[in-house]
Amino acid sequence: MHGKTKIDEDLLEEIEEILLESDVGIQMTDKIVGKLRELAKENRFLPEEVMPSLFDYLKSELSMEEERIIVDEDRLNIILMVGVNGTGKTTTTGKIAAKLSISDYSVILAAADTFRAAAIEQLEVWSQRANVPLIKHQENSDSAAVVYDAIKAANARKTNVLLIDTAGRLHNKAHLMDELKKIRRIIDSEAPNAKLEVLLVLDATTGQNGLSQAMVFKEAVNLTGIVLTKLDGTAKGGVIFAIKNSLNLPIKLVGVGEGLEDLRDFQPQIFIDALFS
């Protein structure tokens, strides 16, 4: 009896299909399937060990330190929400505000999307729902000025958390990415001691373009994490494996609906189970 276990090729093909259909992408899928073959060979898997080992491997790929948003109670915390158009930044800003406010932190919202029609009004509704104050200027005013004022206000009021909602922007638009860099510079100069989270809000329906989004936004404003939204739909969000693999960015939160409470901490186990359900 030779000790070499050969994984059932049909099973591997099935796994490959599930990963590809979950937006894991062909490169990352090849890497995962290749790793599974390697593990099976090294450890001489029995057929029933294949899936659990795959799950363990995927979980280890996604888990990391700093997976949660932790408020430092001794200084100002700033959370900057960035991402391409329509991914759920404004909605998520409202959800985070509510969650923090319920946990008894003082929160201020900054309406730094001064461009899109009714963006300020939209965030205003969320500030009312979350019961937190909102810093806003006129539509079409300078977004950097809003950020500047918001930081001033947060420092003056000794606020725990300042949440900044920015306008959606495509990462291939240099002038829009420059605007975001300017906002980042203002945060760095006006709140150098603040704890800063820069969250990329990524729509779970996004395909491989999610990787370019993460790369370009990271290069521009140095992301600290990702919020994966709309996971209440049928999209699996598999592009996060490639993002984690290339950029080592943690998924911190997931959006699971349009309501105030539809925000969860990211749980790798739940995410991976959902891929194969």
Binding site: E17, L20, E21, S22, D23, G25, I26, Q27, V84, N85, G86, T87, G88, R116, A117, A118, E121, Q122, E124, V125, W126, L170, H171, N172, K173, D203, T205, T206, G207, Q208, N209, G210, S212, K230, D232, G233, T234, A235, K236, V239, E258
Partner: protein
Amino acid sequence: NLSDKLQDVFKKISGKGKISEENITEAIREVRRALLEADVNLKVVKDFINNVKEQAIGQEVIKSISPGQQFIKIISDAMIELMGGENQTLATSEKSPTVYMMVGLQGSGKTTTSAKLALNLRKQGKRPMLVAADIYRPAAIKQLEVLGKQINIPVFSLGQISPVEIVTKSLVFAKENGHDYIILDTAGRLHIDVELMDELVKIKQVVNPTEILLVVDSMIGQDAVKMSESFNEYLNITGVIATKLDGDTRGGAALSIKAVTGKPIKFMAMGEKLDALEPFHPERIASRILG
């Protein structure tokens, strides 16, 4: 890119005269990879590749171009044929007003695109109006009103009452005020939300739209198929509008959606400004997908 990869693959077979089952296998593999990277749906990729394989095998390698280029042309032509050639204009109802109903997932660009279509119609000398039927999203009505003001097009809204009632009354308003086109902006929703999908069905029954346009974010991945099939099953959509094509997404979802629903892609939205809407050009999407 794919073109270079195929040049390499075919270097080995040039001079052998015909494209055959054997020499095409590696080329097919490269095409499969490229399509998957471009977000074309896996099942659509399989069907498409089999189709292309049939067409390519037995073809004489044309002396004037390299086999790699010839193979790319076969693929590109197949894509253009799949996506194009359909009725890509918006129909007009014999009985005024003509109603266009905008539907789709959350954040895909329905509200912005509604305003773009309205502007387009006004430039053609028509008298369109916009209807704010999204009663859920915070400030959605305000958003449409702001856009309407920018382009001097009236927005009909009754606040946050039932969308079915809003659209019913909008028909009356249109007739009384001489509007020949109505563009209904609806709330974003998940195709698996039965209650909200039934709401769309009710709206359709009440206003009998001439066009039901599925507005799709071009960066969508594999979910494009489930989503569009579902919207199509519920509503029998008449067309698709692909948005955010000013980004750098490859846009393979466009191919997938056309392949599974058979419904034509009518427009490409290429920006946030209200004039950023163009008729669909399949050859432009094909060249993006092929990278």
